[in-house]
């Protein structure tokens, strides 16, 4: 599937100012999201995956600053803009109408003292002031029905009257209200129970077909990745260390860390091999070392690994990209 890139992140670095010094939460990360593509960003907590995704919509937490790099976004009129240097006012017109984000704590994303309909009306009015309430509600109802909710009931309910799964789906409808091109989902299913989770995943897949937008979703749950992603991007200690199409990510991970993650995942199939976890703990991001950040935990490391950061390399079949001196190459 070769399509035009929708969002290109180039050499992005983000630092947090802390008492002990600067913490590089995202380090020289480059990432491309094509149109109609769903990209999964995986990694452990504290690897910078949420920071990277919030940088796109310019809601970095206090104390965080983009130190270098650019985020190029192809607008629907065909022009490409750098989201980082774009004027605030211009940027705000893009948000939600073209780039929508669903947060991890979607349970508290709705205004608790207003009925859910107000969130829909406010979001639409902010971008299309001339849209009437009737039009907005009609559209909202259509979307809510699409996400398998009783539209009438949900619109007239307060958020606390809805269950977690219902809120999550209502938020999804709200995100799609203005037909965005890119939807960023931060841990879309963590707060949901298993059966609801499956429904939401199926729904996300269907909606993608119907509205043809792109997803960037951040997760640590590999079974969600296997059902939702076209491409998988692995992050470790602020760096992107591997990108691969989903099938070959699971079958032939090249980076030892990706492989470790897959090996550590408990599986339900009957004949189950011994699970292996990755030894050691994630590194301190303040004390930057020159070599590969994964080297202290890696069993394939050599002296080269601790001295020099491996560059991003493209595999022979040009599907995989990885940053490792000693990748798993053969089958």
């Amino acid at each position: 599937m070769e399509t035009t890139p929708l969002l290109e992140i180039e050499n992005l670095s983000i630092s947090f100012k802390t008492k002990r010094g600067y913490l590089k939460a995202v380090n020289d990360a480059s990432l491309v999201i094509h149109e109609h593509e769903s990209v999964a960003l995986i990694g452990e907590s504290g690897c910078g995956k949420t920071t990277l995704s919030t940088a796109i919509v310019d809601i970095l937490p206090l104390g965080a600053r983009v130190t270098e790099g650019e985020i190029l976004y192809k607008q629907s009129d065909g022009n490409t803009v750098d989201l980082l240097t774009l004027k605030k006012k211009k940027f705000r017109t893009l948000l939600w109408s073209q780039i929508a984000m669903m947060f991890q704590a979607s349970q508290s994303s709705f205004n608790p003292v207003k009925k859910v309909r107000m969130d829909f009306i406010d979001a639409a009015k902010a971008h299309h002031p001339r849209m009437t309430e009737k039009e907005i509600l009609k559209k909202s109802e259509k979307l809510l029905t699409l996400v398998m909710l009783d539209a009438e009931r949900v619109l007239n309910a307060y958020p606390h009257e809805l269950s977690g799964g219902m809120k999550q789906r209502a938020l999804l409808a709200l995100a799609l209200l203005l037909e965005p091109k890119l939807v960023i989902l931060d841990e879309p299913t963590t707060a949901l129970d298993l059966l609801t989770q499956e429904k939401v995943v199926a729904l996300l897949n269907e909606l993608k077909e119907e509205f043809s937008f792109s997803y960037l979703f951040v997760t640590h749950d590999l079974s969600i990745v296997s059902e939702l992603a076209d491409r998988v991007v692995t992050m470790y200690a602020g760096r992107i260390i591997e990108t691969a199409p989903v099938a070959s990510f699971f079958q032939q991970p090249k980076h030892p860390y990706s492989r470790g993650l897959i090996d550590a995942m408990p599986k339900l199939a009957l004949e189950q091999g011994e699970l292996v976890s990755i030894p050691g703990t994630p590194p301190d991001l303040i004390e930057q070392t020159s070599g590969c950040p994964f080297a202290p935990r890696c069993h394939r490391k050599s002296s080269l690994c601790t001295e020099q950061m491996p560059p991003m390399t493209t595999s022979q079949d040009s599907q995989h990209e990885y940053a490792c001196w000693h990748p798993y190459l053969g089958v």
């Binding site: 452990e44 907590s45 398998m148 269950s163 977690g164 799964g165 219902m166 129970d193 298993l194 059966l195 609801t196 989770q197 499956e198 429904k199 640590h220 590999l222 079974s223 969600i224 296997s226 059902e227 989903v246 099938a247 699971f250 079958q251 470790g260 993650l261 550590a264 995942m265 408990p266 599986k267 339900l268 199939a269 009957l270 004949e271 189950q272 699970l275 292996v276 976890s277 990755i278 030894p279 703990t281 994630p282």
Partner: protein, 332 residues
């Protein structure tokens, strides 16, 4: 063998002001032997944490009996109660909130020893704290004793709370989603530590999780049970329950948990099984009869919506609460 704990017809209601009580646990029956693991799986809000809290002695049961080492827990003398408190320990879900942020790791472990084991001097306490930290793999110990919880990562904190629990030489540990806040790469390590401790100290685990694959991994060759709306709907030996699920609900969660079959488990043979509806009914309006019947694709009209299914033993040790497996000769 005498069971470590036995629970019969246990139920738990919560009172509301000016509203009828809400019944969270109903008719729970379970046994757990020494050195064994029982894993309970269920969706959020199915009552599994409440059950864990009842077993840990933090909540009284409304009806039914709960006996620990042959003694009814509600009728313990003061001295026995103190022993029970020592014997049953709970590992909490969130290691970021369950450790006192102003207490050093040494004191986190030493305080319960001071209180329950009457160890007073540092000379007594230090070797014991060292032993505990080594048991949970926090070595070199001297790196950790003078740290505060905020200096530790999530996995390390959870290890500290395990060490704190082990300080009491418990006979039963209720593990309430203890690994859900831990990263995948460290999770297996932690579970392995728990399993090693079981081999060494013969402790029993009541392991609460919502992740079937994790439960299957932890309760290998042990018991697994599935809860739905406060009832145990299926119980059996782990491999058998996963390999031959009987209850429609178990089939549905297995099918949901299997992930993308083509990519993850090529060998898996889970049938795709989908329930109707999306949400668990609220506890205030539990459906009549089988709690699953409004969502069940295999329901029997006139039976499932009227009569609560009894617990049926389909094969030895494999229990299921579903009318589909009713033996034809058994009375209704």
């Amino acid at each position: 063998m005498k069971n470590l704990l036995e629970v019969h017809h246990l139920s738990k209601d919560f009172q509301h002001k000016r509203q009828p009580p809400v019944s969270i646990l109903q008719e729970i029956q379970l046994q757990l032997g020494k050195g064994q693991t029982l894993c309970v799986v269920g969706e959020s809000g199915c009552g599994k944490t409440t059950l864990g809290r009842v077993l840990a002695g933090l909540l009284p049961a409304t009806t039914g009996t709960y006996s620990f080492l042959g003694k009814d827990v509600t009728r313990l003398s003061k001295k026995e109660k103190k022993e029970f408190r020592r014997d049953v320990q709970l590992i909490h879900q969130n290691p970021y909130e369950s450790l006192n942020p102003t207490t050093m790791v040494f004191d986190i472990l030493a305080n319960p020893l001071r209180k329950h084991k009457k160890m007073k001097t540092i000379a007594e306490l230090y070797p014991e704290v060292t032993r505990l930290l080594e048991l949970v793999g926090l070595t070199p110990v001297s790196d950790f004793v003078d740290k505060y919880p905020s200096h530790l990562s999530g996995g390390q904190r959870q290890r500290v709370s395990i060490a704190r629990v082990l300080a009491m030489d418990p006979k039963l540990i209720v593990v309430d989603e203890a690994t859900s806040m831990i990263d995948t790469s460290l999770r297996i390590n932690l579970l392995k530590t728990l399993q090693e401790i079981q081999e060494r100290t013969n402790v029993s685990y009541f392991f609460i999780t919502h992740d079937l694959a994790l439960g299957r991994y932890f309760a290998q060759n042990q018991q697994l049970m599935v809860m739905y709306l406060g009832k145990i709907i299926e119980k059996g030996q782990t491999e058998e329950l996963i390999g031959q699920p009987l209850h429609p609900y178990t089939k549905a969660i297995l099918s949901a948990a299997a992930g993308n079959k083509g990519l993850l488990d090529e060998s898996s043979e889970f049938e795709t099984y989908v329930l109707g509806g999306t949400d668990i009914p609220s506890f205030t309006q539990i459906p009549q009869g089988c709690p699953l019947h409004p969502r069940c694709p295999q329901k029997i009209e006139g039976l499932c919506d009227r009569l609560r299914p009894p617990e049926i033993e389909s094969t030895t040790g494999h229990y299921v609460a579903c009318h589909l497996y009713r033996k034809s000769d058994s009375p209704l």
